[in-house]
Amino acid sequence: MTAADLTFRSPATLAEALTELAGDEDAIAVGGGTSVALLLKHGLIEPRRLVWLGRVGGLGEIQAGPDGSLAIGATVTLRELAASAPVRRLAPALAEAAGQVGNPRVRAMATVGGALAHADPRQDLPPALLALAATARIAGPAGEREPPLAGFYTGFMETVLAPAELVTQVNVPAGPGRRSVYLRFTPASEGDFPVIGAAAAVLRDAGGLVTGAALALAGAGPVPLLIPAAGELAGRMPAEADIEAVAAAAAAAATAVSDQRGSARYKQAMAAEWTRRALRACLE
């Protein structure tokens, strides 16, 4: 069922898009529409106004700062992200996550903004951005803010986004010498959601000492999960025992439920295993 008075708007500027969203309490943003179309089709959402961001100017660029930071516009597609030379160089985990989402048709349409706001905990992009300490720039009726992604997800398919707010840009801070990786395991077809995905980012000094580390998981709970124990690798030359401690913390933090992709216990074991693999890949 869709509202009989449903309308489709195609604003050309961010200001117009925000006005269109604020103008109807039942308005929703459409990025690539890959999830919106599905939800509409199955009657899971009943908006009255679709505000498509596809023609909004200025949201479709990837910019690399001189310091090695990245600014990624909200309508950049996952296919553009996966193919971007600066993203592959400065934040490989992000390119790897984007390049593994679904199939080429999903990646050609799905946007960074939609991939963040959809907030399905099995999605690939959120853990990569969490591990990279990214922030999301948000614009809305109350102005602009830029919270760290760490507090962005508040529950299953819930975020801090207020009605009529948009993600306009995602910023990935510079990390000189940072290594990052995203690995995932899909028990069904390659295009399926992962049972577990793991993103790791590790910074080391010239002597090999870890100066910062982060790890985040997809599929391990109601929200994408940051594992704070990874931060304790800082100040060390990590040995297998240190990696094992983070893997144990990941298993303990995983609150995944049993479903067709595996039992809760299996997913906990997989959270530990893919934590090990992601950290080793950054440390080897």
Binding site: F8, K41, G102, P104, E190, G191
Partner: protein, 149 residues
């Protein structure tokens, strides 16, 4: 609402609902090569090109096609005979249900990554399911097509 776009090189105008899907519009215009299979973006039989992007027309809001160049398997068969020849010569089909999707996907790959390695080709085509061929002849057809360009 009014929608104008170019379909297989010809301008079209249609009246569509705001939540109408592109697959419905295309089939409504009599082009039935584009199929509705799973309806949830997984199988690929509804694939069309919008500009240079492959999309699942079962999950693509028709309104987003305003002003775009849309290509279906029928149009590609006319515009790129080498593509169809490769599928025929390599016997890249059996029942034929998935063939329009395979063809559109191959055309998308040729635009996105014309120098695709065999591994990249496999990964790209993997999103378009086939229940007959076992895929090898499809992969051979796409390989032959890419090599012929």
């Amino acid at each position: 609402m009014k929608l104008s776009f170019t379909l297989n090189g010809e301008p079209v105008a249609a009246d569509v609902a705001p939540d109408e899907l592109l697959v419905e519009v295309i089939r409504g215009l009599g082009l039935t090569g584009t199929k509705q299979g799973c309806g949830v973006g997984v199988c690929g039989v509804c694939s069309v090109l919008v500009g240079d992007r492959p999309v699942s027309s079962c999950l693509y809001l028709a309104a987003c096609a305003e002003g775009e160049q849309v290509w279906t398997a029928e149009g590609l068969a006319q515009a790129e005979p080498a593509l169809i020849r490769a599928f025929a010569e390599q016997e890249g089909m059996q029942c034929g249900i998935c063939t329009p999707g395979q063809v559109v996907t191959a055309a998308a790959l040729a635009r996105e990554n014309p120098a695709a390695t065999d591994a990249e080709l496999r990964q790209y085509q993997a999103g378009t399911l086939c229940r007959c061929t076992g895929y090898q002849t499809i992969l051979a057809a796409v390989r032959a097509y890419l090599d012929s360009r």
